[in-house]
Symmetry: C2
Subunit: 281 residues, 2 copies
């Protein structure tokens, strides 16, 4: 009970699937482990499957959102002729005018975090494509903010003039040096992000900055600007960082540079703990 028996991953997500495709994708993913006949099996799902363009829309909970009641908001898509009984957990939204925000998946990780660090109240940072800064009080999300940091990194690297500077053979030492300088630049002047970004191009043209340095600087600048622009939210204790370990490691270095302690929590562990807690509720 509560153990991981097997895991599977796939690139088949919301952006590639119509609603009708989900039952087959789910069935095929686990076909090798679970026979098609037998008693009913509850399947608990979180994330973008509950989006409007997903499998079936699971309406958002509003902030302040009590995560111990997360499972009550689940929706049940039809999966006829299968022993699988899917339930999709809701996301969380914030409707304050001019400060609208949404999450899907992170709420389940936050519920998991609340079982891994019982009673924790304060800031939680969730690095990712759309990183979240969340004010959590036990099992309640008070409010939150999303930064497009990870996505900016990807689109600038692939599609902007900076691609000429960051693409190429990257030296690890160069990258470290760029990361540190980018973090420092972001902390010092988060209000000058659009100007600081061009320093990468100019640095490669004028100062011989190589792809490793430029990539590290881009990453550090974006993370440093995200952190630097929200310093007022940082309190006294260690900040849980819930995300992939490599990316969380970069954030941990950034926070350390401004004297803030962190604790890295693997996002997959948090998701599993959250699904388990939602199942038990």
């Amino acid at each position: 009970m509560g153990e991981v028996l097997f895991s599977r991953s796939s690139g088949q997500g919301m952006s590639k699937l119509g609603p009708d495709a989900y039952p087959t994708v789910l069935t095929n993913l686990i076909a090798g482990e679970i026979s098609s006949s037998g008693p009913a099996i509850d399947v608990l799902i979180c994330g973008m499957a509950g989006a409007r363009q997903g499998w079936k829309e699971a309406p958002y909970l509003d902030v302040p959102a009590e995560l111990s009641r997360l499972a009550l908001g689940a929706v049940t898509p039809l999966m006829s002729g299968s022993r699988l009984k899917p339930n999709i957990l809701p996301g969380v939204c914030q409707k304050f005018s001019g400060d609208e925000d949404v999450m899907r998946g992170e709420e389940t990780q936050l519920l998991g975090l609340s079982t891994m660090c019982p009673g924790y109240s304060g800031l939680v940072v969730m690095p990712g494509t759309h990183s979240k800064w969340v004010m959590l009080a036990g099992t309640r999300i008070e409010r939150f903010s999303t930064s497009m940091t990870g996505e900016l990194f990807e689109v600038l690297r692939a599609h902007s003039v900076l691609r000429h500077s960051v693409n190429g053979e990257a030296d690890a030492e160069d990258r470290e040096s760029g990361l540190e300088m980018g973090l420092a630049a972001g902390f010092e002047a988060p209000h000058r992000l659009t100007a600081n970004l061009f320093k990468i191009r100019a640095g490669s043209l004028l100062s011989g900055r190589r792809p490793g340095w430029c990539t590290g600087f881009l990453s550090g600048l974006l993370i440093g600007s995200e952190i630097g622009g929200q310093r007022d939210l940082i309190g006294g204790g260690d900040i849980p960082l819930v995300g992939g370990p490599a990316l969380s490691g970069l954030y941990a270095r950034g926070f350390a540079m401004i004297g803030a302690g962190t604790r890295i929590v693997d996002a997959t562990d948090a998701t599993l703990a959250g699904l388990k807690a939602a199942r038990q509720a």
Copy 2:
């Protein structure tokens, strides 16, 4: 003397041409107007043709850069068998460590501006893909900074999750409203740009914000953050805005919202005035 007899434009620029292709592109562009035989014709060129990946590299002038000496830095690519004698003007660079920057083409517009507004000293803002904020003293560039504002608009609109919010039929009134709110958000918190960007996505999901509003907000937010992050550079007088009239109009509205006067100078007029001044020098 000094009149425009004809003009031609083409999409054939640095990013699409190898060095060997320039003579043919130039010749074909003006073939209908200038016969291939006759006395030599000097051709003065500014911009990316002088980049390392252009026709022939024209080394940068360093800041502080005296623009009355611009033509002395021109390079002369070979164009054998032609009556055209091309000269490519240099760009300007800034090598301060950590504050490196480059321009190619804007220096010629600034020289032009110095003839259109003799004796002007102070801030010049040049809206564009890579917009420039320049401290000009007469014909001397003291220092400058580039913001990737226009390019961020393009890559976010085309390649990020925001494409779902900004693409679609745009209503002009919606767009106006989004522009005003985006400018205000940028002025208020330029240090929170990466978080403010996600408000577009959340606004379309939660508050029914339509493509026109989202496009206006994206544009306003980026321009407002560029201006808001550099307010310390704004002095007392009217700021010359050198750029395309439509984009300069958006900047003028932004500056007006924070009480700064502007004067729009058409970029093409400034370029022609600059080439003329360089020719006469």
